[in-house]
Amino acid sequence: MARRAESPASPALHSLSRAQRGLADRLGEPGLRLLTWAASAAGMALIALLVYKVFAQAGESISHFGLGFLTANVWDPVSRRFGAASFIYGTAISSLLALVIAGPLSIAIALFLTELAPRRARRPVATLVELLAAIPSVVLGLWGIIVLAPFLVNTLEPALHSAFGWIPLFEGSTSPFGLLPAILILTIMVVPIIASVTREVFETVPGDLKESALALGATRWEMVRMVILPYAKSGIVGASILGLGRALGEAIAVTQVIGDATGVHVSLFAPADTLASRVASTYQGATSTLEISSLAYLSAILLVLALIVNVIARLIVRRSTRRMRRVGPRAGLAVTTAEADA
């Protein structure tokens, strides 16, 4: 407390007369309250304005195409016909498959970091995994184009094709640009998010529960399966949906590797496109106000999807962090630090 009294603001306050201090307090108290309130109000207004403005820009396209836009599989600036079907498909398939790969991988990483790793290695490895989230998406996209794509065309895709070619997903000719590289890049992006939130949840599992299971003769894996995973279930689901939200909205890295092609193809090797990526790739090429408005329509669909996914994820994560708070006070902040990268 002694140090507090020397903090820079205090001497100035002491030099004021009692009357001046009274005045400062009478203005300062409501002043600071009002100022911080105004900041919050401005933040809330910003969100409302954002939603309104995106839909307002989409207005021309919405009145022109209506809801048929959602199911029309066409993007033709010349005949001015636009539709979102292939992009909705691309968004769904790329982010869901990324989640299918990233989910188990992240849970395994989180388990390694909370249960298996030598104590001294835990923090550094956890930090490294979180740093993966800090790589700018445009750099990952660049890596995708120049390093990953040739590897896929020459090695992975032929291998998948010859082994699983009978599954429609792995049919057709290989190509450096397409859904597969997009899925892999998205996986790299969401693993750190899911892994770090999941790790936080795992760390809140009470030690007594784990030790009881071990004392009853469970192997470590049985303890994980019967104690940790059930306890952390909702946290894992929340973390995965958070990752899904990130994957849905990623524009740059996806547009760099996905090939920007309209049309619905089952094969993962074929070029495709997502909502976010189509908006990003048309940034200089829009030729008519209807096309710009249709891009805003795509953004509006994306916004609605992201809002739904995030609301669900936050509700779930919030519920399990509440439980965390009861267990330990330090949990929440680390989640926030991890999410700042998300």
Binding site: R4, A9, L13, D25, G28, E29, L32, T36, W37, A38, A39, S40, A42, G43, L46, I47, Q57, L105, A108, L116, V125, T127, L128, V129, L131, A134, I135, P136, S137, V138, V139, L140, L142, W143, I146, V147, A215, G217, R220, W221, V224, L242, G245, G249, A251, I252, A276, V279, A280, Y283, S299, L302, L303, R314, L333, T336, T337, E339, A340, D341
Partner: protein, 306 residues
Amino acid sequence: MSAPGGNATAGGAGTRHPLLVRDRRLRRRKLVNRTMEATATLAALIAVAVLALVIASVLIKGVSAINLDFFTKEPAPFGQSGGGIANSIVGTVLLVAMASVLAVPIGILIGIHTSEFARSSVASSIRFALDILNGVPTIVTGIFVFGLLVVGHVQSGYAGAVALAIIMLPIVARSAHEVLALVPSSLREASLALGVPRWRTVLTVIVPTAVSGLITGALLAVARVAGETAPLLFTSSIASTMVSTDPSKALSSIPVRIFELSESPSPAEHAQAWAAALLLIVFVMLLNVLARSLFGRSRARIARTR
């Protein structure tokens, strides 16, 4: 390693331990256990290996393209070799600085509001809304600012900075809230009990205690937006190749430049893209490491006051 199955075997050496009666089942359980442990270890190795792979690519390909010209020269005209990204470096510094000036004070004020003044139901709704804002895809933020500031005008550095600020705002505000909430209530109560008014308590006791945590949040937000491309495409991408400090026109930026270079077929441009990526990654990683160490120190300091 200390799996109880192992203990049982060791403890029962020589004698016929009850657990060993069902030897085959135990062996299977231990096998499953070991397989799963190996899988988890492998997964962590893969994650670290991917990080190493990406960073190694950027390092190896970036270092060879970096020279003095890269930092000081403007891009060479199309088809000529050489040149640098001076205009993009200046642009990124300006954009991020302007965005921080907008977002950091407002974000910290929101954090103070939610942690010190607002009723808890109001505060948690505001934090919820901020989390949702944090989840808005950045390309949508770009389209929003495009409609707000660019349509009817031109792309500008101001518009780009506003878009980046919108992305920073929830990060700064949320972390400010969390850090301020960490300040022990005993400190708060001591100050109030001495008759210090609430606002003065906030400004002279609570904020100074949490200041390094507040800086952490700001640094993480800067690290995040320094690498953002999507919100700038519609707001500040059609920029001149000359070094410009005029925010009323579009400013070039490092991420957008990497994006353009990466779409080019020319190997020389790819080399420049790698060099720019190296610069960006070094900057972002440094900020992250700095923020993390500051945060650790801040937490330790707050723990001492407790």
